[in-house]
Symmetry: D2
Subunit: 275 residues, 4 copies
């Protein structure tokens, strides 16, 4: 069982939490604690062995922790996700394969795409694909259609697996720290579209990718994971795109696996990730 | 202040430790705990803010922890090291420069070499250099001379910065988990001498280095840090040696800095490193 | 068009090759040349723009080069592969997805497995799957069945995508430098079975994978690509296996893409790879 | 001997060059050629074995190559550098140590600093240190003093080893592609001062460094080498600075060693680096 706690820090917090657990014969197998001393915040992730019902533990923790504390107790209950895509297959395929072989750490409920091209691969893996064309309709209407589809599913997170369209503030507002995007650059370098063309023009020797939560500021949400890979003078923009896809796939899955195993906390537009 | 604890695990251990600290108004700024559930061992490293004398805390912790517990409480007291070298300059120079600018995390007490070649660089940095020639004397005599020198210094660790000679079991027995070596390969590949020649012959595409504690089994002690770097077909053995030196320098300093900041535990010929 | 040449070196070789091309108005867009001066071998890979028939160029090059020269001229003709698997899905799935979206650089002709478990994923991607049970038959018979299947396909390479069975010398003899294996360790560390268990027991801080050509010596064939990834004390053998799969997938595809784009030469149990 | 050639491309160029060499019995040991097909530029680096005088070869090459061709023929003649520093020791110390042990690939002629703090380490290594205070004088006067010092030395390159001051266009104009800077971020992210503070605020998961030629646009010159290293939520700005120094040291030396071994070409604000 995984317990995560996020609240204001005070002396004795760990003692109180540990006592509650010890009193119920719950053993702490692994514990990560971090105090952001600048902002006086406490973050903890505990892996415990237990023989007690979750709900009771939650209530007891709630009683001893500050009132605004965010407590999560996760047993084996699988997370659920919906995936939004456009035309690129690499991130989606990686998710679908892992989902199929039950190593994703979450269950893909459906895939929504604004092009028809990725329908076939979803069908192969027996995942519902909803084609929602963005042509001829405004963003409000487009997002309303997305909402009407995803609201028919239970889900914990929305994964933008190369969705390539900017969601409106009102859409995002409904899913704070629930939407994960893979951006095709080492943010904050090359914000916005065509980062590989920008990277090629600048003559960089590394390209990167960034997985982050989506907020209203384009590509400015809390970063979960980043990675870079070497490139050289022989790389044309198309070669950078191709290499970039390998990094994008790797970074997105890394971020998702941290997220699905309750290792990611958010505070003040930054993440705490207990790898 | 850093507190490290290593002992058998039991339910409630974290609670007891945290209570002891909280009762004395000691705040836990950062805590890493790991339970080796296979062997039932508990390892913890706590960074705390305090206003109490160390010795009192030690006694209290000793009372509540299992009798065999290894408790260390480290304030700002600097670690001391002696460094053993042969002819290669790269690891030693890196240590001397950092020592000079007070960023090593330890104080170099002296350097001992079985060649005269590195005397000059030590003199530049005003570090005592003891030349102990291994020629014409047996290993017992050679090591006795080393011992007679190092015993005139206070030190916490012996660093073999490319010492290139195998120490005898009786020498090593006196310094369990106190001797750190940098081995010029990604152990356990290429144990023993000439690893780069072996690596070249095998046509590997990566070369590596390994920092480890020295035990009686050659190159078989607990590994603290490892790193690899790409090589290719153009690398002759001499090129591998040159590239290898970059990795050796980086890996040794990484291991030392973990060690000097009390992040390394040893159990069952393995290390727990809280990076 | 890609031209690769491997032969004994002599002064003037590049001049002669370049002249032959220039005389036919063939422009060299990119050239990699390497001379193994120890063994006096010449390796070259040229990307050229041309408007001439391949066969003519081949004949002319053959005339000017040493008689034993290995000359390959590859136009857009796709390579073909057969894939041998056992029960693990990760390498195969990656190959199947790229094959499906035509970014593999080769065409998968069929998959052969000694278990039935991966039949389904092949069927999804409309790739013939041949289940050849190794139970109850000897190796000779098992391999004869494999041969009888693959001989019904045209193929350039046999890819062992976690095949987990040792092929006999007589099988291998028929496919010199045509069989690529992914080994689940950083060779030459942990040769043989259960490398992750060995790695865990040794307490390594990195795990790796190696893609290599298969020769008669187990895991001793020419290495094409290697990669490592950090692990730590929290990794149980099962965690190492899981992380290892990520590296295995990445290393195998890297090796295959080098191979399929004619960047790999073999000499004296080593590879020259022009990345 | 190393020969480098940069000129407009045309069919037959390699043939002509190789013929010139073959006719003089010069053997090409290793050759890297790259054609920028977009801009029709040809770049080549050849390692050759020869028994002829350099000057003759230069003249012959000049005759056969386009008039604007940049030809360089480098024998064992060592490059010379001057180093500009401010207060940080890490890059300078690395350069001084390698210079002392003759593994830098260049000879340090002198060090110029706008603070006195690094005088001591230069004196240890018997390298002239010139303290030029920037206080109380304008940039023009400051740079005039630097020029008057460096003009007393022969040098090929000016290395800004954490110089931390922006040079004026008129100063830079005198040394096109002769000034190398180490910038403490993964450009183009975090241009300008305080990149680590910016990086911390953005919550990045990697920090980087960039070695580049200096041009009039701040931090916008051709990039020679870049590297990144992982960081996490526990990194305060000071920790990022400390880790950043390790990367800065590694990236600057990598760039310098490429430069000193004639592996770096510049065209159109980008570099071609034949590693």
């Amino acid at each position: 069982m995984i317990i995560t706690i996020q609240c204001k820090d005070r002396v004795g917090l760990v003692a109180q939490i540990a006592q509650v657990l010890a009193a119920r014969n719950v053993n702490i197998v692994s514990m990560r604690e971090y105090v952001d001393t600048v902002n006086n915040n406490f973050f903890a992730r505990l892996e415990v062995n237990h023989s007690e019902q979750n709900i009771a533990l939650y209530d007891v923790l709630q009683q001893i922790l500050p009132t605004e504390a965010i407590i999560k107790i996760n047993s084996e209950i699988q997370k659920n996700i919906v995936v939004l895509v456009s035309k690129e297959y690499h991130c989606l395929s990686d998710i679908l394969v892992r989902n199929h072989f039950k190593t994703l750490g979450a269950q893909v409920q459906c895939v929504i795409g604004n092009h028809a091209v990725l329908q076939e691969i979803c069908t192969k893996f027996e995942i519902p694909y909803h084609f929602i064309d963005h042509n001829g309709i405004d963003k409000q209407n487009f997002e309303a259609q997305i909402l009407s589809v995803i609201n028919t599913y239970n889900f914990d997170f929305i994964v933008l697996a190369k969705f390539m369209r900017i969601l409106s503030p009102s859409f995002i507002a409904g899913f704070t720290h629930k939407i994960v995007n893979i951006h095709h650059s080492f943010l904050p370098a090359f914000i916005g579209a065509s980062p590989y063309r920008q990277a090629h023009q600048r003559g960089v020797k590394l390209i990167g990718a960034t997985a982050h939560f989506v907020t209203n500021d384009l590509d400015e949400g809390p970063i979960i994971a980043q990675q870079t890979m070497p490139v050289n003078h022989t790389y044309q923009p198309a070669d950078m795109v191709r290499t970039g896809k390998e990094i994008e796939t790797a970074v997105l899955i890394k971020a998702l696996q941290s997220l699905f195993s309750d290792r990611v906390f958010v505070y003040d537009n930054k993440t705490i990730v207990f790898d």
